[in-house]
């Protein structure tokens, strides 16, 4: 295929995914908006004033980056995991691409881009919702955007890998509840590790999402529990590791052929 044909195919895959997301918006966009509204309400209006300031900002402002990340992580992940799984097992419409000259890497790039798009859009929506509850200070738009995009990328790729290997829909649905949410909650959404010495402070430092939330929070506050270069380095390393995993899957045909 010529570059233009490859582009057309890539665009088709993304467009189709976006049409799907918009068609089922109560499942794709609404849930994160509803849950984050509740969080902002509770931690901003109800509890925030009693907790006071963390890192020199109102508590609700402190929790915004973590809650945005929670939404980004689960949405990016679920998007690719679900699209991959359902087109492979339910309708088997993945065959539409497999019979075509579209190479596997374009298929993967298209699926992952759909997940990144969903993650970034959700992130922006949740940020927009947070504006009803707090004033957002912005330290570096670049860092915010970098963390938004790279986090979406990492978890889209993770979702893709899971979607390829999952043997049942449960294999996909349990991950957000049993893996992603605990990692995000223990990753310092609601607290600063400076206030958490000892055992739990150490546990938190083994949580990769802790670094993502910290880097993202740095973009807003200009301060964080860990230096920016550590969180950025880790994020880039994760992206590279998952890209490698995706490349391996592509080489082996994603287990899609019999």
């Amino acid at each position: 295929m010529t570059p233009y044909q490859l582009w057309t195919s890539y665009y088709t895959i993304i467009r189709k995914d976006v049409v799907r997301m918009v068609r089922i918006w109560p499942q794709t966009f609404l849930p994160s908006i509803v849950t984050s509204t509740l969080y902002f309400l509770i931690f901003g209006a109800f509890l925030g004033s009693r907790i006071g300031e963390v890192h020199g900002v109102p508590y609700v402002m402190f929790v915004v980056p973590g809650l945005v990340m929670l939404a980004v992580v689960t949405n990016a992940y679920m998007n690719t995991a679900f699209v991959m799984f359902q087109s492979k097992f339910f309708a088997r419409n993945i065959d539409e691409v497999l019979v075509s000259p579209t190479p596997p890497w374009v298929l993967v790039a298209g699926f992952v881009s759909g997940g990144v798009l969903r993650g970034v859009v959700i992130g922006c929506l949740v940020l927009a919702v947070s504006l009803f509850f707090t004033h957002l200070s912005i330290h570096s738009l670049f860092v915010i955007f970098l963390f938004l995009v790279l986090t979406s990328l990492v978890f889209s790729l993770a979702g893709l890998v899971n979607g390829v290997f999952a043997k049942s829909i449960d294999g996909i649905n349990i991950v957000p509840t049993f893996v992603l949410q605990p990692l995000v909650y223990l990753g310092g959404v609601f607290y600063s590790t400076q206030a958490l010495p000892g055992f739990w402070g150490t546990v938190t430092k083994f949580d990769p999402i802790f670094y993502l939330i910290n880097g993202f929070r740095y973009g807003f506050l200009g301060t964080a529990d860990v230096p920016l270069y550590v969180s950025t380095g880790l994020l880039v390393a994760f992206s590279a590791a998952f890209l490698l995993a995706a490349w391996y899957l592509i080489r082996t045909g994603l287990g899609l052929r019999q």
Binding site: Q5, L6, Y11, R92, V99, P101
Partner: protein, 256 residues
């Protein structure tokens, strides 16, 4: 003449251990209308899956218009269209989107694909259904949707896996007419079917496959010549091809 499809000693054993193809050799000249017949489980769908890139072969070779499927899979697929046996589209998508997106996977932009899809769907009697979701179509309409999808990139070889299964007589005949029109325009057709009358009407060449092996392969005249007119007739009279078929695959057909 260049061959549209050239299969040599193709073998396939599924991961489960089922040997589905045991060395199939088959060639289809360009412009031909070829019928592949065989009882259930003979290996027809397996053969088609390998040719269309949905299954990996165990050994052997497949060439499409001279292009080796293994060496240049993307190039080989460019000119092949397929209408699969089982429905494999997302039923929540709109009819027009299913066809236009398929064009996209072949690198055809929407601006080109949209008018082409409308014409194809209209020719196939789905002109009123462009903007409904696929789940709102009847079985016969869904089948025709898959034909439109298989033709959107104007393939030179169209492969249809039991396209008329479960389709009523009237519609089946109109599908025949459509396929004949296609061959006249130069498209090579490979068709598998259960209806031997259909093959007898349409095909120039036939092969019969059972248990993963081709047992007959020739022009329709040659195969029909195998018909034994003097054979004792049982109480059911079938078409000539059907009688040849029954004689050859005798014992392989499931008994009730």
């Amino acid at each position: 003449m260049e061959l549209a499809l050239d299969i040599k000693d193709l073998k396939k054993t599924y991961a489960s251990g089922t040997p589905a193809l045991k060395g199939v050799t088959l060639s289809i000249p360009q412009g031909d209308f070829f019928a592949l017949l065989g009882p259930n489980g003979a290996g027809k769908t397996t053969l088609i899956s390998i040719v269309t890139g949905l299954a990996d072969k165990s050994s052997g070779s497949v060439r499409v218009f001279g292009v080796d499927m293994e060496k240049e899979p993307q190039k080989a697929r460019l000119h092949v269209g397929v209408v699969p046996q089982n429905f494999n589209f997302n039923i929540f998508e709109k009819v027009i989107d299913i066809v236009v997106n398929q064009a996209g996977y072949y690198g055809i932009p929407r601006s080109v694909a949209l008018p082409r899809a409308k014409k194809l769907l209209t020719d196939l009697g789905l002109g009123e259904k462009l903007n409904v979701t696929a789940r709102e179509l009847s079985g016969g309409m869904q089948r025709r949707l898959m034909i439109a999808r298989g033709l959107i990139h104007e393939p030179k070889l169209l492969i249809l896996d039991e396209p008329t299964a479960g389709v009523d007589v009237e519609l089946r005949r109109s599908m025949w007419a459509y396929l004949e029109k296609l061959t006249k325009s130069g498209v090579t057709i490979l068709l598998t079917t259960h209806y031997l009358e259909e093959a007898e009407q349409l095909a120039k060449r036939v092969a019969i496959i059972t248990k993963g092996e081709i047992i007959v392969n020739g022009t329709m005249e040659e195969v029909l010549a195998m018909h034994d007119d003097s054979a004792p007739k049982d109480k059911y009279r079938a078409g000539k091809l059907e009688e040849v078929f029954l004689k050859l695959v005798e014992g392989d057909a499931p008994t009730l």
